[in-house]
C-alpha cells in the first residue's frame, strides 16, 4: 500500500484544498480509505488528522471498510420509490442475505442505498459497479445478481 499511496500523492502539491481529490484518488486505487492511508494524507496535506477524518466522514462517497467485488447501489429517490424501489431493495437483501450498508462475508457483494442515480426516466434503477441497470423488477434483479456473481 505504501508504494501505491506514494505514487498517488506524488501527483498532488500537498495543499489543503486538494484534500478531497486526494482522498478520491486513494479510494479509487485502494477501494476504500484505510486508517493508515488517512494518516499519511494528513501529513502530506499539512492538516490535522482530525480534519481528514472530518472531511472523509462528511461525504457519502468515502468508505472506511473494504466493499464487495460487486458493489450494488439501490436508488431510493422519489421516482424509483413510486415505481417499486422498496421491493427491489427487499429482493436484493433477500438474495444476498445482507442489509443496506453491509458486505457479504466472502466480499463478493456489498449493498448501499443512494439518494438518486440520475436515470429517473427509467426507474426503478440500481447501479452495479458504476453500470446503471434500469426498469427493474424483482424478477430481473434475481437474474442480474446471478449474472453479476458469475463473471468474478
Amino acid at each position: 500500500m505504501e508504494r501505491r499511496l506514494d505514487a498517488i500523492l506524488s501527483s498532488f502539491a500537498g495543499q489543503e484544498h486538494e484534500l478531497i481529490p486526494i482522498l478520491q484518488q486513494v479510494q479509487r486505487e485502494l477501494g476504500y480509505l484505510p486508517r493508515e492511508a488517512m494518516l499519511e494524507v494528513a501529513q502530506f496535506a499539512g492538516v490535522p488528522e482530525s480534519r481528514v477524518y472530518a472531511v472523509a466522514t462528511f461525504y457519502a462517497q468515502f468508505r472506511f471498510t473494504p466493499i464487495g467485488r460487486k458493489h450494488v447501489m439501490v436508488c431510493r429517490g422519489t421516482s424509483c420509490h413510486v415505481r417499486g424501489a422498496p421491493r427491489i431493495l427487499e429482493e436484493i437483501e433477500r438474495q444476498l442475505s445482507i442489509k443496506e450498508g453491509e458486505t457479504t462475508p466472502d466480499l463478493s457483494h456489498s449493498l448501499e442505498t443512494v439518494a438518486c442515480i440520475g436515470a429517473c426516466g427509467l426507474s426503478p434503477c440500481i447501479m452495479i459497479n458504476n453500470k446503471v441497470e434500469a426498469k427493474l423488477t424483482p424478477k430481473k434483479v434475481a437474474v442480474l445478481l446471478r449474472k453479476a456473481g458469475d463473471d468474478d
Partner: protein, 569 residues
C-alpha cells in the same frame, strides 16, 4: 477574434455539410447514460458489425441523448435523399434487421419508427415534431442533444457554437450584462435569481481575482437534465461560462460535477482539451486580453453541496456546510473572492442568448419567467424523459400530452414538483401555468425542474416519509432545527405509517414544520417540510385513515404489531 479561429469555424461547417451530403448513409446511436443502461453499447456494436459484414460504407456515430428515455436505445438512420428516421427501443437483433431491411433494401420498417427528422415525412412515419411527445416541446437548449457528437468541438462549431462568445468579445462588459438583462434570464438551479444582477454584483465587487462556478451537482432526486446537457452538449455549458467570466472579469472557473456522473466528467474533460487546442482557454483568448482557465471538481456525494456556499466549502477541501449569508458569493465567495455560481442550464441559456439575441429568448415564457425550461418527467408516466417547454406550460400538458399519462393504465393522483423541497400537487392544480413563481402559492415550487408523477398505488404518508428520510439523511448537521427537526418529523411519520399515529399528530407535524422552516439556516431545512405539508393539505383523509383506523388506503404501509413509538418527543 483571430483569423485562425474563423478558419476553424469555417472548416467545421464545411466538413459537417460534406458529411451530410456525401451520398453515404449515416447512423447515429444515442449513447448517453440512459441509452447505455438500456443497452445502447450493444446496439452500437451490432450496427458496426453488421454494416461491416454487409460491406456497407456507413459511419456509425455516437451522439448524446434526445431526452426520450422511455424509448432508449434510440437510433437515427440517414439515407441519402431521405429524411432521417428515428427508431426507438432498438436492441441488437432489431439493429441488424434495420440494416438489412432499410439500408440494403428500402423498407423503412415504419412500424418500428418514432418519426422522421426535419420537414419531410416518409409514408407511414410521421414527422417526429408532430408526434405527441414532441409537438408541445420547443427545442432550444436541447437543440444539439442527440444530433451532434458531444466529443467533437467541430460539431458544436458547425451549429453556431461559440458564436455567442465571439459576439460577446466584441461587446463591452456592460453590454453583455444588458443583453442578459433584456433576455430576462433567471437562474435554473431553483431560486430563480435574475442572472444579470448576479453578474453585475460580481463585476462591481472588489477582488484581486474572480471566479465563475458551474453548479452541476444536480442532487434533487428525480432530476437528470443537467447530466443530459453535460453528456450531450458540454460545449454549450462551457461557452456560457466563458461569456459569464468575460462579463464579470473572472479569470478562473470551476465545474462541479458529481463523481458518479462518470460519462459527463469524461465528456467535460474532452471538451476542455479541445477548447485549449482551439485557443478558447488560456492566456489571451482568441487574440483578446481575456484570460480564463477551467478546472473540474468531482463532487463526493453530498446533496447539500448543491447549495452554493456549501459547494464553495467543498471546492476549498472542507466539509460541505453552508455558510452564513450575507456576505453573498458575488462579494465574498471562493477563498473570499467575488464568485458567481450558476446552474448548468442557466449557463447554457446564457450562451444561447448571446448566439441568438435577447428578443429571441424572451419571446417565449411568461411575464416573469422568460424562455424555455427543461423538465424531467418521471415516476408513473408512459413517456418519461427530459422535455423542453416554454415557461407557462401546465403540468397537465407535461404529464398527459407529452408524458402520455400514468404508467400501466393506472390513474394519477399527485405530481411532485420542485424536488425534495417541493410539494405533491393534486389533479385540481395541474392546469396552473408553471413558471418560476406560480407553484409557490400551492406549497410547492418549480425548483430545478423535477416532475414526478404518482399514481394511486402510492400512499401520501409513505411519500412524505420518503421525502423526510431524504432530508434527515442529507441534512449537514450544522443547525439544530433542521438536524433534530427533520428526524422528529420522520419518526412521527414512521409511527403514523406503522399504525401508531395519535389523534393530535397532524397538528403536531404542521406546528413542527413551521418551526423548522423558520429556524433553519439554509434552503434544505427551510423547504424540507414542504412535501409533508402538501400531503397533509391535499390528502388529509389518508392521514386520518392511518391514524384513526390503522389502515393504509393505498395498501402500501404495513401496520406494526408493536406500540413502541419511534419518536422521542
Amino acid at each position: 477574434m483571430t483569423r485562425s479561429f474563423e478558419n476553424l469555424r469555417q472548416r467545421a461547417q464545411v466538413e459537417w455539410k460534406a458529411s451530410q451530403d456525401d451520398g453515404k448513409p449515416r447512423i447515429l446511436v444515442g449513447t448517453a447514460t440512459c441509452g447505455r443502461s438500456a443497452g445502447a453499447i450493444e446496439v452500437l456494436e451490432a450496427l458496426q458489425r453488421e454494416s461491416r459484414n454487409r460491406g456497407l460504407d456507413c459511419p456509425v456515430v455516437e451522439v448524446g441523448c434526445i431526452g426520450l428515455c422511455y424509448a432508449e436505445p434510440i437510433v437515427a438512420i440517414f439515407k441519402p435523399s431521405r429524411p432521417g428516421i428515428v427508431y426507438g427501443n432498438v436492441n441488437a437483433p432489431r439493429a441488424a434487421r434495420l440494416i438489412e431491411r432499410y439500408l440494403l433494401r428500402d423498407d423503412p420498417l415504419a412500424a418500428e419508427a418514432l418519426g422522421t427528422l426535419g420537414p419531410e415525412s416518409v409514408e407511414g412515419i410521421p414527422r417526429l415534431q408532430d408526434t405527441p411527445v414532441m409537438r408541445h416541446q420547443v427545442r432550444r437548449i436541447l437543440r444539439n442533444c442527440g444530433f451532434i457528437d458531444p466529443a467533437k468541438i467541430d460539431h458544436y462549431l458547425a451549429h453556431g457554437g461559440y458564436s455567442g462568445f465571439t459576439k460577446a468579445l466584441a461587446l463591452d462588459t456592460a453590454e453583455i450584462i444588458e443583453e442578459i438583462k433584456k433576455a430576462g434570464l433567471r437562474g435554473r438551479g431553483g431560486a430563480g435569481f435574475p442572472a444579470w444582477r448576479k453578474w453585475q454584483f460580481t463585476r462591481e465587487a472588489k477582488g484581486a481575482k474572480k471566479y465563475v462556478v458551474c453548479n452541476g451537482s444536480e442532487g434533487d432526486p428525480g432530476t437528470f437534465s443537467n447530466k443530459l446537457l453535460l453528456e450531450s452538449d458540454p460545449h454549450s455549458v462551457l461557452e456560457g461560462m466563458l461569456i459569464a467570466a468575460l462579463a464579470m472579469g473572472a479569470d478562473e472557473g470551476y465545474v462541479y460535477c458529481p463523481a458518479q456522473y462518470s460519462l459527463a466528467l469524461e465528456r467535460l474533460r474532452t471538451a476542455l482539451l479541445q477548447m485549449r487546442e482551439y485557443g478558447l482557454l488560456g492566456e489571451g483568448i482568441l487574440g483578446s486580453s481575456f484570460n480564463f482557465r477551467i478546472e473540474i471538481k468531482e463532487g463526493a456525494g453530498a446533496y447539500i453541496c448543491g447549495e452554493e456556499t456549501a459547494l464553495l466549502e467543498c471546492i476549498e477541501g472542507k466539509r460541505g456546510v453552508p455558510r452564513l449569508r450575507p456576505p453573498f458569493p458575488p462579494t465574498a465567495g471562493l477563498w473570499n473572492l467575488p464568485t458567481a455560481i450558476h446552474n448548468v442550464e442557466t449557463l447554457a441559456c446564457a450562451a444561447a442568448i448571446l448566439q441568438n439575441g435577447a428578443p429571441w429568448f424572451a419571446e417565449l415564457g411568461t411575464a416573469k419567467s422568460k424562455g424555455t425550461k427543461l423538465f424531467c418527467l418521471s415516476g408513473s408516466v408512459q413517456r418519461g424523459g427530459v422535455i423542453e417547454v416554454p415557461f407557462g406550460t401546465t403540468l397537465h400538458e407535461m404529464i398527459y400530452a407529452i408524458g402520455g399519462g400514468a404508467a400501466d393504465g393506472e390513474e394519477l393522483k399527485a405530481v411532485q414538483t420542485g424536488g425534495p423541497g417541493g410539494g405533491y400537487l393534486p389533479p385540481g392544480l395541474w392546469d396552473t401555468p408553471v413558471d418560476q413563481d406560480s407553484l409557490l402559492a400551492f406549497g410547492s415550487s418549480t425548483g430545478s425542474g423535477g416532475v414526478v408523477a404518482v399514481d394511486r398505488r402510492s400512499c401520501a404518508v409513505d411519500l412524505a416519509r420518503n421525502s423526510l428520510d431524504f432530508a434527515r439523511r442529507e441534512c449537514c448537521g450544522q443547525c439544530v432545527p433542521c438536524r433534530l427537526g427533520t428526524r422528529q418529523l420522520f419518526d412521527i411519520l414512521v409511527d403514523i405509517a406503522e399504525g401508531r399515529g395519535r389523534p393530535q399528530d397532524m397538528e403536531l407535524l404542521v406546528e413542527l414544520s413551521e418551526g423548522i422552516k423558520r429556524g433553519s439556516l439554509c434552503g434544505l431545512g427551510q423547504t424540507a417540510p414542504n412535501a409533508l405539508l402538501s400531503t397533509i393539505r391535499y390528502f388529509p383523509d389518508e392521514y386520518r385513515a392511518h391514524i384513526g383506523q390503522r389502515r393504509c388506503p393505498a395498501g402500501v404501509c404495513r401496520m406494526a404489531n408493536s406500540s413502541q413509538l419511534s419518536r422521542t418527543a
